[in-house]
Amino acid sequence: MTKIYGSDENRVKALDDASFTIEKGKFVLIVGSSGSGKSTLLNMIGLLDRPTKGKVFIDGIDTSKLGDNKLSSFRNRKLGFIFQFSNLLSDLTVLENVLLPRQIGGTNGSAEKDARELIKAVGLESQMNKRANKISGGQSQRAAIARGLINHPTIVLADEPTGNLDSVTSEMIVQLMKSMAKKLNQTFIVVTHEPKYFGNVDKIITIEDGRIFEEEQPSELEVIA
């Protein structure tokens, strides 16, 4: 994928011919310095933005052929999002936030039961009916993880999920994500500039100036402390 912002002399190449494959069930980190293009890359994978050149395939589907409505449905079914500031909807309770992707998708069947189980799994049972703006940052991020998992997506994308948390809470959130990934055989792609919290992962993609120049298995990687 290539992504260019602006035109003529204001042209900025945020992604330069970046290409990689991620297998199902893997826990992948995207690391890089600030402005390196990692969030742009995540937005492309998350289908929130379209590449200037190139294509994103998810579950073998060429997403460049999807129109706006189909793309929304695709995001709803195949992708889960965890943002840096959790971005829960402050007008809804924790339970309603977790339920939201299921309701948007219109598949309400066992939605509430699933949501309650997920909330229990992330340790927020006692906060379930609290308004999202009445819980702590760490609790919000746990709720965001539950929301990202409710539709059993193909990939969960996390953009700096620990960026707004203290070190203790960050470690707890990382452990939660890793345990959920293992338990549910769930693919996670996490953008971070703090890989130290993640320990061993299946893959680390390093990005610099929009180019992917390093792609290594964590067993061979010396995680920078």
């Binding site: 933005d49 409505n69 929304s72 909807l89 992707p101 998708g105």
Partner: protein
């Protein structure tokens, strides 16, 4: 409950200031229309009521030849056989010169309208007798009732005073008679016979040399909605006469035409007021959309379609519209109830004829509800145009 409706409700109710502002805008729009209606339609109806009660009745019968020569008894009996008819009374009109000597000074008034009435029939048909402020209504053939303005112009004539009346009869001869003032009439709002004098119809007939003739017949109905039916029935019953029968809408058309266009203009102003409340809703909803940019971005990211975002903000418009229409209608009805119970007057004189026009009440509520939805379309559309990435980053 649909998640979009729940979200719309929560977003709105958690921004109480915006909700109150938007609801208030709709409420004020509706209230302005109700207040306008109570005052101006009330004034119009009051004028119609007074013209009906004092001058024209529900049906006014005249003759193409200026004077009706059919006997009073025949016509009154004919009308009073109809169950809808409350009463029928002949009237005769003329113009007179009046003079009175007060404190040795002769005061003269010319071109004073004179109304001849049959006192027995008139009290069943008109309410002029209820406007007698001093003294009594027409007692006998030698008594006269002065309109309050005539009495004033005659140097404050009072009950018991003697006045001279000059009328030119049908042959062009001056007929002069002396009368005793038996009463003074004063109507609230001045729509009655305040500028006229009232005397016995037979006296006036004598003076005009028009025995057995009348200028008009006032017919008062128990049920004014039957006016057209009674009128048609009357005209069909006297096909060979030259009668003209008019309902109040027809007989007072000239007097009411100006009022009608005035009311239409004031209603327009009310509706413009409602339009401006729609602009207030647009502004408030734009603020709501701007305040929820990040949330909109997140919803789009997790799969909400543009249509879903549109529906959320249209639901908000519907909520604002229904609460505003409810509160505004309640406030409007409250004002109408107050105006009716306190017998509100216009300019401290004319009692307004306050009615509940349910069709207009529903229409106003429905229109404001629809306007709130229409007003929410633009902010909703703007919300759908937000790009998820931009919205999350900048929100």
């Amino acid at each position: 409950m649909d998640y979009r409706l729940r979200l719309a409700k929560r977003m709105l109710f958690n921004k109480k200031g915006s909700l109150i502002g938007a609801v208030l805008a709709v409420t004020i729009g509706i209230l302005v229309i109700h207040v306008n209606f109570v005052i101006f339609q009330g004034l119009f109806d009051a004028i119609v009521r007074d013209i009906t009660n004092y001058r024209n009745g529900d049906i006014l019968v005249t003759d193409e030849n200026d004077y009706i020569d059919k006997s009073d008894l025949a016509l009154v009996n004919w009308f009073e056989r109809i169950p809808y008819v409350q009463g029928a009374a002949p009237r005769l009109s003329a113009s007179a010169e009046i003079n009175m000597t007060k404190n040795g000074k002769l005061i003269e008034e010319t071109r004073v309208p004179v109304v001849g009435v049959d006192p027995f029939q008139d009290v069943k048909t008109s309410t002029v007798h209820e406007t007698v402020a001093e003294g009594r209504y027409v007692l006998n053939r030698n008594s006269i009732v002065l309109g309050t303005n005539v009495a004033r112009d005659l140097g404050n004539a009072q009950v018991g005073d003697s006045i001279k009346v000059l009328i030119v009869d049908r042959w062009g001869e001056d007929q002069i008679r002396r009368f005793t003032v038996s009463g003074i009439v004063k109507s609230p709002g001045g729509q009655g016979l305040d500028y006229s004098v009232v005397m016995h119809i037979d006296t006036l007939r004598d003076m005009m040399s028009r025995q057995g003739e009348s200028s008009s017949f006032m017919v008062k109905l128990n049920d004014p909605s039957k006016a057209l039916e009674v009128k048609e029935f009357f005209l069909a019953a006297f096909p060979n006469d030259d009668f003209i029968a008019e309902t109040i809408e027809e007989s007072a058309e000239e007097q009411l035409a100006g009022f009608r266009s005035g009311i239409a203009m004031i209603s327009m102003i009310g509706y413009f007021g409602m339009m401006s409340s729609a602009f207030a809703i647009v502004t408030i909803q734009m603020m709501l959309v701007n305040g929820k940019t990040k949330e909109i971005g997140v919803m789009r990211a997790i799969g909400a379609k543009r249509k879903d975002i549109l529906v959320i903000f249209i639901f908000q418009g519907m909520i604002i519209g229904s609460i505003g229409a409810g509160v505004g209608t309640a406030a409007g009805l409250g004002y109408t109830f107050y105006a009716k119970e306190t017998k509100m007057t216009f300019n401290n004189s004319l009692p307004l004829e306050v009615t509940y026009n349910w069709e207009k009440i529903y229409q106003t509520a429905l229109m404001s509800f629809a306007l709130a939805i229409i007003a929410s379309l633009y902010p909703s559309y703007r919300a759908t145009k937000l790009l998820p990435v931009e919205a999350i980053r900048t929100g």
